[in-house]
Symmetry: D2
Subunit: 401 residues, 4 copies
């Protein structure tokens, strides 16, 4: 790792800054994954996850990146050439769509401008038009990590219902879970996809599927080949806290710690904190005179903010200046917005002063990189944070060793 003085500011929209408590938990001796001590760990994390997904359904844990959980959602429920309705909200939606094609599905991709979330009207219309119910699943991304735009998952559910369409509903919450309010059960989601390295504050290496009864039923007839990702093989041993193949034990230690931290802070407080930091960031962006990629305030992301770099300037150069001078990593533009935006992650284990440090790094970086801007961004963020500070005062909680 670098010997640059001080803490690195990891302000990409994930992986996020892993708290010491989680890192220390991971730094424990690996145990027998078939023994009684592991069983207790397994039961604890499998149960604790339900709280975070707001579900009573099983949550499956894969030793894999989030990309693996995308694949698991598809291969467990679908069959070759199945039609899937997907929505182009950004780079990750596009990658999921590509994956669906590679896996032999027939995805339909509702195009988008990467500045809005899922268009409810189009989805409803498309489903309503599918009289034969040949569309087997609707797949959307809750929070587009490439754009900082959220989609209204509960509203999409209503659109599907209005179309009286039986398609499975699958949602990627990789960069929203445990940062932005999400309700697997209430919103009638069939498969929720998530990963460890964002709001769950873990290193990458775990991913998740929350699975509804309807999805489980679909799995029984699904014909895409599956083995590693098979829910069926997972759910049996999971009932007793075990796994069908060697689990990523040490990351599960970290998961136990992070679930405890979320419980201690309270999910609602976690969401409020993310909302507040996101709003402070947007005020800074506006003060700089820069443009937020997300056009609809109702769809602003509380996890990250993507900012358009003024034309004629290079976001890569800008980010390099920030990294070299201020020891901070920002997110690059991806896919269609490559070269056009940089992204500020403000999710995970984060607080007001880390945010101000982050925004200061952006503001000073803009200056050093010669990107035209006004200077009052940090000041505006501070003003906003100060106003809200007393209302959002964190409760101190203590942790025995």
């Amino acid at each position: 790792m670098t010997s640059i003085s001080g803490r690195h500011f990891l302000q990409i929209p994930g992986p996020t800054n892993v708290p010491e408590r989680v890192l220390r938990a991971i730094d424990s001796a690996t145990i027998d994954h078939r023994g009684p001590e592991f069983q207790k760990l397994g039961q604890e994390v499998l149960s604790g996850l339900k709280h975070v997904f707001k579900t009573k359904a099983p949550v499956v844990i894969f030793p894999a990146s989030g990309t693996g959980a995308w694949e698991a959602a598809l291969v467990n429920t679908l069959s070759p050439d199945d039609r899937v309705l997907m929505v182009e909200t950004g780079h990750f939606a596009t990658l999921w769509h590509s994956m669906a094609k590679k896996l032999g599905l027939a995805p339909e991709f509702i195009s988008g401008d990467w500045r809005h979330g899922v268009d409810l009207v189009t989805v409803e219309a498309r489903l309503a038009a599918d009289k034969s119910h040949s569309i087997k699943a609707v797949c959307v991304v809750h929070n587009e990590t490439s754009t900082g735009v959220t989609s209204r998952i509960g509203e999409v559910r209503k659109a599907i219902d209005r179309a009286h369409h039986p398609a499975l509903y699958m949602v990627d919450t990789i960069s929203s879970l445990a940062s932005i309010d999400y309700r697997h059960d209430e919103w009638g989601v069939d498969v929720t996809v998530a990963g460890s390295q964002k709001g769950l504050m873990l290193p990458p290496g775990l991913s998740f599927n929350a699975v509804s009864d309807k999805a489980l039923a679909a799995a029984k007839t699904s014909k895409l080949p599956k083995s590693y990702w098979s829910w069926e093989e997972m759910l049996g041993p999971n009932k007793n806290g075990f796994f069908p193949y060697t689990p990523a034990t040490n990351l599960l230690y970290g998961l136990r710690a992070s679930l405890n931290m979320l419980l201690e802070e309270g999910l609602d407080n976690v969401f409020k904190r993310h909302d507040r930091h996101a709003e402070a960031t947007r005020r800074a962006v506006r003060a700089w005179g820069l443009e937020i990629l997300c056009l609809n305030p109702a769809e602003y992301s509380s996890s990250l903010t993507a900012v358009l770099i003024p034309q004629g300037h290079s976001e890569a150069d800008f980010r390099k200046v920030v990294l070299d001078n201020f020891n901070m990593s920002l997110g690059q533009g991806l896919g269609k917005v490559a070269g056009k935006v940089f992204r500020i992650g403000h999710l995970g284990d984060f607080n007001d002063l880390m945010l101000i440090g982050t925004l200061a790094g952006v503001e000073m970086g803009l200056e050093l990189a010669g990107v035209p801007h006004k200077k009052r961004g940090v000041a505006m963020a501070m003003e906003y944070l100060t106003e809200g500070a007393s209302k959002s005062k964190p409760a101190v909680k203590l942790n025995a060793a």
Copy 2:
């Protein structure tokens, strides 16, 4: 974790005892997986792995358990209904065979007695009989973790060659790599499958495919659906030290540390150490009057020893006595030998006194559990270790902070 006094003896045949140095490396802040510091890490581990696999071919790293690397080997190279020749050496060979069926392949399974390695004559005969070359791959397990029996991988290669058969050759080295000599290039293996949690001394969560040119060529025409496991998507970014999706960064920190440790000890010394501990273990087993599952001395495993429990006695009860009284985990019998054997892992980060502690736990456990045995096992192992000690004296190496 338990508060039982002293170190737990994790003597299942993997996950193995993770060295402090590896745990501490993992306990580092997660970094930007698209930044220059990660790039150096990526290049270092991708290159260092080749040394361990004894190959010049690329080694692909998956954020997944070893089971995932099995799947990757199959889905990258094969097409639905392809015939695959597999050999029933034990439980893990059986699981791999089941996976092949689940993935839509048509595996043929040469039956075995779980006490021998791959039978060379049968393999050669079977391939010679396949005049049409409809068999696309031969899949074997180098070291059967369920039985403590190795197969002679170089000899299998020769058998394939004698049959003039073009099938791909795939080898599972999950519990042999970095413990028992293995030579991807010299032995003409096309896909080598490995995992992090055995000889590499890491927690579970990483797995590997070493991939020959012939395997890469096969990947171009393979029709099994693939995305997460796709070599093609991996190899592009890997050239620059990057990955197509978020890698398990912190486990890669651990991998860097473990590769350095293997380099410092020297692979040949590592193999000798494992051979020596395995021989000491077998001498103990014989002294106890118990039977080693592996029948052919040329196929003894240096990673683990599976021991038959005398009839009328429960291996589960025995292992529970050992765990409850001596804070040691032993491996259970799996599959066809469930209830019939227990397994002693003696691989990974291990030394003479840990081995004696391990064997003492077995010997005292046999006594407490009322399993008939003679008592001179530990004494015989000590005698053997003492004889060989001066020859195998470890070199002290120092590690700067």
Copy 3:
């Protein structure tokens, strides 16, 4: 640190093997030693220590080695040229005596053969003869780390009482506290001296004085210069959990963890465990045909066993053979027994299999070093441990992250 494979066996009689849980606790961000979070920590450890010393009196914590706590005991209570009765039980008693001289006291040293504990009759006679009560303190070592001999602290108290002598009673428990039963209040000790790196299972760097009312009263008139070691300056801030100068915060994190571990195991179980391992060790020593330094079975130490090396053999060479071949550190002979004994530490975070590994390292080392011995030491220890195993079965306790 060394890259020798496997865990080092640290079997000197302290520092002891620090449990992972303690190391991880120490590996936490340092906090403001004047803030509320520290206060809670301070209160917790200051209170928890009383349980371990079996006292209601205050226990003072110094950021210092045990040697510092010796000095603190003397400079807080005594004045230049004060007479102090000390007993030559071994090297550490001798060092404490040297220190007393250096500090300007007039210690009287009852000579000893380093193979027995404090002679009660001599102490009583010496005190009875001191009609003028010019002796201000009696200082003894509970467990002589250099010899493996304990003194009967409660009996010494009675001897002092029989002599109707008002001297302060000071006891060094550096290598006994939290390993061998010790009762500050019940035994009427005025100052108990202890350190972190033995039974408390911490790295070195903390030391302790438990201080009776009588000792506190003596401190008011003591004239030896003192500042860093001053109890008076400590006790004020300690009342609120704080310290008069910067405390060794991170070691206090470790102390909190170790106090919790001792509480979870139960002090009585901790003592029984040490007794059992000590007895097993002595049976091994006798089986080897070697001689235990301690001559009186009533004074055997449960923390360590000092063993005489047969004449004509070098204990230094023997220990080097053990270190080089078996990655184990044993204690050297110190002071008058330098070159004559080696010491086996069996205290702290320890268990049966670690003990057998330790004894095997000694037995195999004797063989390699050409030291005459019989071979049944390990076997005898195993026999003893097996007999007692079911009675001493450790309870599994679980620890949340």
Copy 4:
């Protein structure tokens, strides 16, 4: 520790934010302090420290807080009733003076206003007046942690020389070493006192004396009682990398890591970084309209800035607001300036964005606490940092595991 989200900002002027790399080094198994591996560690840190003190003289390491190293400096060199010239630069100079009295010395205390460093003229005059050379030592504090005022150590040396006075020259560098340029040899200092928890970026628990030949000579005739602190006992074993009593092994692991980090960054770069952050902080303070305690710009501290709280406002309340709302610890006013100042630590493992976070916490805290101020402090600091950024660009260095 707290479960408040995000990193705590530990901006007291020490202990400082301990870097992960140091914490991880400390989190290693304790080793035999009499063995060959320890010897290498001992030699490495004892030698490496000389570079940081800029000396060829021995540097003694005590397992103790900085307060202990004060005591060591005095008791090793002086005799009861010796006259010592000390200068009241602030709270810590006052504590050192109190200690000298407690130890039986006869210190003379040149009074000061706590807003200036050592007055050269007064020191010279006082020494020149001491014709009999009854003053045995001049003791000053390089950087007053309570006031943020430095003294010009090289100039004090010249004043002593101009007075042709043979007194020993002792300097406390507890909060300057490895943060502000310091030159033990060049400045003719006889005893330099330092601690681990400031610029050396370690947890508290180690302290240091760099000792000139003249100081060593004085030690031979010094009559203050000494044992734990005795240089003589230290220097013998130190020659071989060992210590006369159990050293704080794990903190020495951390010291090795921190010495490597300082070497990698380069001491001159370390000093420039501290200067820059101090100047940025002062610009912020001035912009807020608040007053810096230090009155002489030539004596500004680069480690910390003490700021006067406007009359009628409570610095304690202010700091509580900052801690409760922003998870940041600031230094309180101590001694004569208790209630009048708060202190901002900007030393140790620190960088630009951490500084901006820190200053933002102060600025927002002032607002929330109702302390009158102007709002442009953070903005001014950012402007200054931006100007200097390209010149002070940190070099990336990489650290293998």
